[in-house]
Assembly symmetry: D2
Homo-oligomer: 382 residues x 4
């Protein structure tokens, strides 16, 4: 009897049209199931096999000013070094049990480095990236290649590459980290290894461009010396000047009557792995969206979840039945199969263009690789 009492399985017979009729025999059967660590499908099917994904996560918004303030406090109280590894503070979706999971598969954190600080070298199978909404001065050193980080830059970090950070500037710097930590946590595929405690002086130099950009940062060109398809992008930085120009070009083409945008007033680029043309990381899709002043995107829902950060401009975003006014740096999550739309709403304090720039990352490559991707767009009626 004690054994049953300790069983992690708990079953209750309920009087419902979908369930077997409660009876003493049924109760006894359920006690038998519990003892043998068994759970019937008929009590669980609605939760396990819904008509469409009903996310355990909820839409939520984090204000950048609050994150930066807390990270700044942590900069004074929490050292960076071996063990904790990084001064990174992660978004915890309110309905995911206090876990540092922005969504069931994605990790999003603000990382913060004080002047002169180093974050020690390590590597892990988790795929990662950095994105910079403001500031500069930190170098990420990947496999011995120092990569500067500045506002608007996107830095992918394929799994199992050695990497460290150091702040060469005289002021703190914050940026966001995106990883597939929750995905690898639930599927239990993660490996981790410590590297050198301190990178070499040669790696602490601060060149204008990383070596990776000198090899891979030329449009449509690849080094003949490099191997063929690589799992993650060998290009370690995607600079804002390129991204900005690509988005501006799309909106200009639209204005001239040509194809190029996703929908009217909505330009978007995806960061790609130049060795495959596919997603920049095997498990994470990363894009930058620009919504022209006054435009609004059609509500769209997809298998899988996304995290967005407002890179520039102001606007109003709607995620399922929630809606927020957002401004630079704000972060929010879009759970699986939850409709999302964004409207650009220029405010007095915005830059001239008045467009809303949204940085986005999602777990879409997982579903495409496994042929589980679906999407659905509510187009306005003619």
């Amino acid at each position: 009897m004690t054994e049953i009492a300790n069983s992690p399985v708990r079953l209750t017979a309920v009087d419902s049209p979908d369930q077997p009729t409660p009876s003493a025999a049924l109760e006894e059967l359920y006690r038998g199931f519990e003892k043998e660590l068994l759970v019937p499908l008929w009590t669980e099917i609605g939760d396990l096999m819904p008509v469409h994904p009903r996310s355990k996560a909820v839409p939520h918004l984090w204000r950048w000013e609050n994150l930066v303030a807390l990270a700044g406090e942590a900069g004074h109280l929490v050292p960076v070094g071996r063990g904790g590894e990084r001064r990174a503070i992660a978004l915890a979706n309110p309905s995911l049990g206090g876990r540092p999971f922005a969504t069931p598969t994605l990790w999003a954190a603000i990382q913060y480095l004080m002047p002169g600080e180093d974050a020690p070298e390590h590597r892990h199978t988790q795929h990662a990236f950095r994105f910079v909404v403001e500031g500069e001065g930190v170098w990420t050193v990947v496999g011995g290649d120092p990569v500067p980080m500045r506002r608007g830059d996107f830095l992918p970090q394929g799994g199992w590459n050695w990497h460290a950070h150091h702040n060469a500037a005289d002021r703190p710097m914050a940026w966001i980290d995106g990883l597939d930590i929750p995905f690898q946590y639930v599927t239990e595929s993660q490996f981790f290894e410590f590297g050198r405690d301190r990178i070499s002086d040669a790696e602490r130099t601060t060149p204008e461009r990383s070596r990776s950009e000198r090899l891979w940062g030329h449009p449509g060109l690849r080094p003949v010396s490099a191997p063929g398809a690589q799992t993650s992008s060998p290009l370690l930085a995607y600079r804002w000047a390129d991204t900005d120009r690509a988005l501006a070009d799309q909106l200009a083409l639209e204005a001239e009557g040509h194809a190029g945008t996703v929908e009217p007033g909505h330009a978007a680029v995806r960061y790609t792995n130049p060795t495959t043309g596919g997603d920049v990381l095997p498990t994470i899709r990363v894009e930058m969206h620009r919504v022209r002043a006054g435009a609004e995107t059609a509500p769209r829902r997809e298998t899988g979840s996304s995290v967005y950060q407002v890179f520039d401009g102001s606007g109003r975003i709607t995620v399922g039945d929630r809606s927020w006014s957002v401004t630079r740096g704000d972060l929010f999550v879009v759970p699986s199969w939850t409709p999302f739309s964004a409207r650009s709403e220029a405010s007095a304090s915005d830059s001239d263009s008045g467009s809303l720039d949204l940085f986005r990352f999602s777990d879409s490559p997982i579903f495409e690789a496994l042929r589980l991707d679906r999407s659905d767009v509510e187009r306005p009626q003619a």
Copy 2:
């Protein structure tokens, strides 16, 4: 204050070399994190980013005789029909919180159908299969194609195919179902649709071979009329006679001094999708292993988890630090990165051959598609 109290995030400053020094300021910082729904990496890294996978699941064994007895009871108490959909009873790993998850990604259940019963038609994105350790008489009807099920047969069921079951025999029949329900549950990619309440009389016929086998069941041959690569196998039944012969052939080749087995005394075949040569389902790998009488497999560990069922013979299996004697029908799980080995131990009641036949399914295709697969074998030293 109430707000903080209600926050799902709970942080505790601890006095440890890896953690920031406890102080009032740190406590205040943590309260700020909680209020903003933030969790620092430094308190979680050991759990989230271990040196290698440390599974939340544990090794566990379920005895077939107990499963069949309880399923038989359910046959009398639990009707099969719309709503509950299936009389399926799932293995619940003891450390996964009472959820019907054999492992963090895999579902394994015994399904049971009384004489004359029908399980209604539906479809879902979850990839599924049936495997028969004993009995016959049930037909699975897939897309209108009736597929008989008999001992040793493996029936894959790619996602989003309509399917129903009916028991045309005069006695109950049990088999196991394997699905990727937990994986799609945690990644939130699942869709489900009800079909007809009752399949047609034409579909209730009981032909010797399914149409799928007549089109796809010829070695190395494909119908010219069929499209190219398909997501899941169009072959809906892999018969025991073929599997048995393939395993016997490998051991015979080994005895003649030729390559073919995995290691001495250990033959194994993988069920494949004949349109790609790859795994039979996009998220589930399925294999049959045969360990020759007296042989033992080398301990092997892999990223991802497996469920095994003993198809025939007796033996002793070791999973991490657990070990069990097993016999026909017994089911057990091997968590991620946990070493597994099996020894064939013929008993008086076994068939002449004395070999141990192990049916296995795993989530390996997920990791291979995302380039997260690793494995490691302890070879005996020369």
Copy 3:
């Protein structure tokens, strides 16, 4: 001047609407082109860039009885050994300049081995196969694996595998060889290497099944010990019993009202590489077609060329503007973009079924790999 006279380039000014006006200056220009080894597009475009392929090859038929008679003569006059390597006699398309090219890309030959003879071991990058329209007794030894050859069997031979033949029977045997010799000849990609002058006694054994069939000849199953995708099929023999049953199954499904045939009365299977589900050889597609007694296939044309051999039955085939009555063993070619159709015409001497079985090989995989494939079918009007 002598230099010009010796130039391989010869240009003539012609008076035609599409050509530049003849003049002394134009003649002088053309002499300049000749001297510099230049040829203008405007004199060649009609030949080089036609509206659709206009094959240099023509439809042609070879009678099996004539081939066998000549091969039998060669059996007495021409030894088999190092240097000549094989007693193979190739079809020479009448409009390809006397070259042993059945089509611009495909080689087809009858090979003939006297009792007790050996054809020495070698390997080459040319992809090859054997197909047996009658007889048995020869073993092809591939990488040390003896593979018996019998009526109806198809034996692929991926490039760069060592192979030899020996006739273990007490009578001669003939079969056909198909290779991509012309393709590799014109693209200049071929390598060749001599092997041992004599295979070992162990390789001269005559087992019922090859080792390759014991590893790979089980429908939908692959050895776990084998590597992943392989360039050419590791299955070295596709037996007639399987092919025959697959074709019969398709026609039976059609008779029952189900899909499966290419068109009414026309069943067809493609030999595949079980490690990829794709073509059995990287450059050659191989299929067996069965036209039911009285049925006729719709005229179809494709990029690329085919060679057919009548395996069984009688009928009438139409290739472009040519048409022939054909019977067992007859070989014919279908040039690129030339419509082909076949009608089964049972004769008194045929087997009971009255169907026409056509073995076919083509260069289609080349065009599919390079995205140059096109096809077009004339369907009968409703």
Copy 4:
């Protein structure tokens, strides 16, 4: 007898160790072969199946100044219009029978357009590109998108895209065209279609950048609105400024002690299709190589053939047993499996850098797609 006399097949019995003994019976057999249009392997094997490719093409050099002079003459004598389609003058390898084939698979021509001229719109399955060694002013209009051409620019033109040219400048312009015409000619896969006789005025505009560059010319970024993998590159111009910088970056990295060049003093980039990361065209590989002043490349041979044009600098190139001093614009061919090396030899008239820039195109993608590629490099001994 007449029939035999007319047969295209001609066989001769020769007295040689590798051939059957000449005799009256053998002569009679050969007459029988001729009558039946058969050719034995044993008389042909040395030519058809050599130990390694022995190209029918020979190394050859064409001087740019001669080409331009003749093309200029043609500019006065040969109109451009429907029928001839293009004022293109092709290199004819001296040993390929006067055919306009630079190599057995590749076409290379100088194309020439007078001020104000238009070359009419058409499309074809042959894959094509333009490369500009000098001059500017011509626009290629591809699918309605005008693409300017200037020195150093590379413009791919995937098969079956509509395209036309017009010269908007007040002086003539010459460039080179590369196509797979010979490959599609011998494999008989080519289709061709005429377009409009005259492009619209809107297409005659001369924007600084093509629309394709505005969509696809940003490093590592792709428009979210575009479909996935495309057969040929959607980027219609690769500008010299990018290519030059990529080559300079590789040599600078080498000078700093980092990897990146092919070998010491030898930088090289490959033009890629940004939707796949692979070759820019399905049948043609295109690269730019830079040999640092004084450096020499290791002799290298490959399956398949190449055409080179000197883009800048001077040097000495060696192709098999031929060697030439070369300078800007000179074109030469490297036949299959013929060793090639280049040495940079700065002359007084060269630009400051003194490096030798070689534009190259080859048929390598054909062999890689069919798994027939091989290469071999003679590395200097340590």
